[in-house]
């Protein structure tokens, strides 16, 4: 019985878990630099450089405290689920020239 409900849910596109989006940190850049995702998306950053970077929300002169994570080295990851629509800017606190942006849209926008 339970299996049938799961199958129906899958047919309807309802998975029960938020979708993921990926951002790579490579050659001192966030790739892609700016992405647009629907509300509820979990964004996963993965460091591909052999050096520590950070994922710090805001700008170097105005951090906003939404998220701040260190990616120690190659393979290190950080994820954040966006539950509020808006534009989230972020940067690397060790290399201020590294900037990125996540635009979170509500469904149908």
């Amino acid at each position: 019985m339970k299996g049938m409900w799961l199958a129906l849910g899958a047919l309807a596109g309802v998975t029960g878990s938020p979708s993921d989006a990926a951002v790579e940190v490579r050659t001192f850049q966030y790739r892609e630099k700016a992405i647009e995702v629907p509300l509820g998306t979990r964004v996963v950053w993965t460091n591909r450089d052999q050096i520590e970077h950070t994922i710090t929300s805001g700008a170097p002169d105005s951090t906003d405290g939404v998220f701040d994570a260190k990616l120690a080295g190659p393979g290190a990851t950080f994820s954040y689920t966006f539950t509020k629509a808006g534009t989230y800017r972020y940067f690397c606190d060790r290399h201020h020239f590294m900037r990125g942006e996540i635009r979170v849209t509500t469904t149908g926008e």
């Binding site: 050659t27 001192f28 630099k33 591909r48 052999q50 050096i51 290399h95 020239f97």
Partner: protein
């Protein structure tokens, strides 16, 4: 004069071998324009050597002028040094793309800023400021190595880190001598630092040629 001519030629050769068409790199580079596919890797090596050695001479000119209190000369030297930085970043960008070009330029300018900090410390005889700048420069060596290693797997980060540290130590010795008005030593150290850039330029050129064998023919 000979040096200037040689540097201009080197820049032009690099611009040509990397397929650059912008006029900001070097006047007269058009005559050297060729397609990347037709360029031997040896030209890439010569071009990178020229730009990186020019970096040392212009940096030393800027720090020497600053420590000598020659403000106008310092401004001109610093401007030329930044032109050299931009030319280097364009060379990197022509291989790895415009985003990598921007990242490289920001990173490269960062180490020049640390050298400015060090020179200011020398001028003010501020040992604490000098030590801080040296620490920043050592940290920068790892950053720069990580950048190159990420862009090109043929460049091991640990090796590049050591080479950049040696660059820092070499140029620091020249600045120290300038600060002491020991000009004979300052010029000797500047030449040593410039010669050392071959240790960075050659492996960099070889690694790029190895990574893009279709663009840079091994001759």
């Amino acid at each position: 004069m000979q040096l200037t001519r040689s540097l201009r030629l080197g820049t032009a050769v690099l611009a040509a071998c990397l397929g650059l068409t912008g006029s900001s790199l070097a006047q007269g580079s058009m005559e050297h324009q060729q397609t990347m596919a037709s360029m031997p890797s040896s030209d890439l090596r010569v071009g990178l050597n020229s730009l990186l050695k020019e970096h040392v001479y212009l940096a030393a000119a800027a720090t020497g002028a600053a420590l000598g209190g020659r403000q106008d000369e310092f401004k001109s030297a610093a401007g030329a040094l930044d032109d050299n930085s931009v030319a280097l970043s364009k060379a990197i960008g022509s291989v790895y793309g415009s985003d990598a070009e921007s990242a490289f330029l920001a990173l490269w300018r960062k180490h020049i800023g640390f050298f400015v900090d060090y020179t200011t410390g020398v001028a003010k005889k501020d040992k604490k400021a000098q030590d801080k700048a040296v620490q920043d420069l050592i940290g920068y060596a790892s950053d720069f190595a990580a950048f190159l290693s990420s862009a090109n797997p043929n460049l091991p980060a640990s090796v590049v880190t050591d080479l950049v540290k040696a660059h820092v130590v070499g140029l620091k010795a020249a600045v120290d001598a300038q600060g002491q008005k020991d000009y004979a030593t300052a010029y000797a150290k500047t030449r040593e630092a410039a010669a050392h850039m071959q240790m960075i330029a050659d492996p960099l050129a070889d690694a790029i040629a190895k990574q893009f064998p279709d663009k840079f023919a091994m001759k």
